[in-house]
Amino acid sequence: MILLEADWQDNQVNYTSDSRQFMGALIGGGLGGTFWIHVHPMLRPGSRASLCGAEVLALYSVRGKEFTRDAGKRAA
């Protein structure tokens, strides 16, 4: 959960591109949340990997030759 005390919904003109970038980072999962992760068959179910300083617990399935994800959850 992200606690953010700022009056962002007011829509004044002084809202900067830095704040837009900041909100994009938060909404995009920069502090946690589910994201998609592509995995390789060499990674076994329950494998843990280091990802940008965060810990990733990848739960996945392998669909034929397309090694797509299932859900990965990150605790930042």
């Binding site: 953010l4 005390e5 700022a6 980072a25 280091s50």
Partner: protein, 183 residues
Amino acid sequence: MKKIAAVVLLGIITWAGSAAAQTRSDLMYCGSTQRTGASLYSGLTPLNEINSCAPDGNTQALLVTRSGTVTGNGAAWLAYLNAGGIIITEYSISASVYNEIYGTSYVNGSGQGNCQDNTMPAVKINPGNPFWVANPIPVTAPNEEGCGFDLSTLVSGEAQVTALGGWIGGAISFAYRPTVPAS
């Protein structure tokens, strides 16, 4: 074989790092907002914007603004967080949302800032946190700070909450509580 595996794994992790962004289709607003879409955020594929307080598996993030309905949503919001959801608050409602989800009773701290809307804090707290390392965004100028209420009491009372940003006077405006993935 081990070397090949290591190289492949490194490549995968590097690639996955760049892809660790939004995965769901919707952005949900609980409460009114005059700022939406590209006026609010950048760097993401545009999201479908929905007005509701009931996030689901398609909700990338739930943004609760000052007029959002909080009471009665705690259990559903906690379940949403535990399922990988993201909740982000706005002016004056952070303590209420936290209390509703986690059963605490914090009150708003003192009013802070210049009400210029900006979300990016004027001060980075814990600048070594992986979020700041991954997002080296310049701080907001003091005369362009957003406004809200100091989160210091909540942060000091909750061991699982980490402060990441604040106002120029030392109060806390930005903090987070990570969600532990369900195993």
